[in-house]
Symmetry: C2
Subunit: 218 residues, 2 copies
């Protein structure tokens, strides 16, 4: 069980506080707005109405010893900048700051933020990539060019067996698992005779361009 601080309870701060509480961690939440503090008080351990630019308040709440403190105080960038700087000066090991623009992100990094997130930007890039490649349902970038992706079998693969399709030799892509949808089950080491259905979801691993080629050609 770890202590986390969440400063600023807009959407981002609210859901971070909620998720960390659901994961059974100790959450200290701060906002100047009483109604917002009220909303989280039912699930966080300590809900404080206060101004987080008050360095004494940050100290009193033990945020220097927290596992991480999330700073998400919105568009007026001077507040998240000051709060981030104060937390780092107090010795907090992991300050995660939400930025509203690239410029804001740069200043936050300069004052010591360990991680800066622009939620709309990261979700936009993720959504655009999945819109642009419609049967690549989701992907996790592993290193420069390898990805794990979920793809649906193309016309070349449907009703053919795994051994016929030869993903590794022909496409240089490794099949990790097959998610069958009806009934819902995951097959880890599919038999070479397994025949692909159009409701299957294939979990594959390979270089980004190889997975793209498989998706286009198969």
């Amino acid at each position: 069980m770890k202590r986390f601080g969440v400063i600023g309870l807009g959407n981002f701060g609210f859901y971070i506080a909620k998720t960390l509480s659901e994961e059974k961690h100790e959450v200290v939440a701060i906002d100047t707005n009483q109604a917002k503090v009220q909303k989280v008080s039912e699930f966080v351990d300590m809900a404080v109405v206060g101004d987080a630019t008050d360095i004494e308040l940050l100290k009193r709440l033990g945020l220097a010893e927290a596992e991480a403190v999330i700073v998400s105080t919105g568009d007026e960038i001077q507040y998240s900048i000051l709060i981030t700087m104060f937390l780092k000066e107090l010795g907090c090991n992991n300050v995660v700051a939400k930025a509203t623009s690239e410029e804001h992100a740069r200043v936050l990094e300069k004052v010591g933020a360990d991680r800066v997130i622009i939620p709309e930007k990261e979700m936009a890039e993720k959504s655009a990539k999945s819109l642009a490649t419609p049967n690549m349902i989701d992907f996790v970038p592993l290193s420069e060019d390898y990805i794990v992706a979920e793809i649906s079998p193309g016309s070349e693969m449907l009703h053919r067996s795994l051994s016929e399709v030869q993903l590794r030799t022909r496409y240089n892509v490794q099949l990790l698992a097959i998610k069958e949808v009806i009934p819902d089950k995951l097959i880890f080491v599919p038999s070479p005779d397994y025949k692909f259905k159009d409701s299957d979801i294939l979990l594959v691993l390979g270089r980004k361009e190889d997975v793209e080629k498989l998706r286009r050609n198969a």
Copy 2:
């Protein structure tokens, strides 16, 4: 090459338009604000200053035939609600709408949005999960309880070989690959003699609770 519409060029709309253009798709971007339209005009195919609640404009721009249209017009929810409804009435197959709250999301679904995103909520949940389980760097949920996760080797695993650690028999977890950091390379089928280093990142597949157990005990 597919056509996409992006309506509303705040952070989310801006980065979706930019990423889709980088992926070489045709992007039609609309906003009432000239400066925002100016910002995207260097990379989208068509940058239009206009009010997207004008159904004739939506028709003229061919958005009914687009692969998908992203509606991200901000806090005044009436606009994204109307625009979403109009696009569905025109026959657009995939309307992705950005919502600012759960209530806003419900209305958007009722008027036909195919997908509703609350970027801050999704990023907050993702960030909270990775903060809460610090050596589970990222995970992709595959089905009810299976996940693909990146974990760092625990004290039980360091400097021991893969065959000694016996991930499958002892932990019921499948090792998919090892990401070595120096130099940066990915090993797909590690030899049984491979010895784990503390800079390694292990890509594993297994039931969520088994991966958690491995992370805690190993």
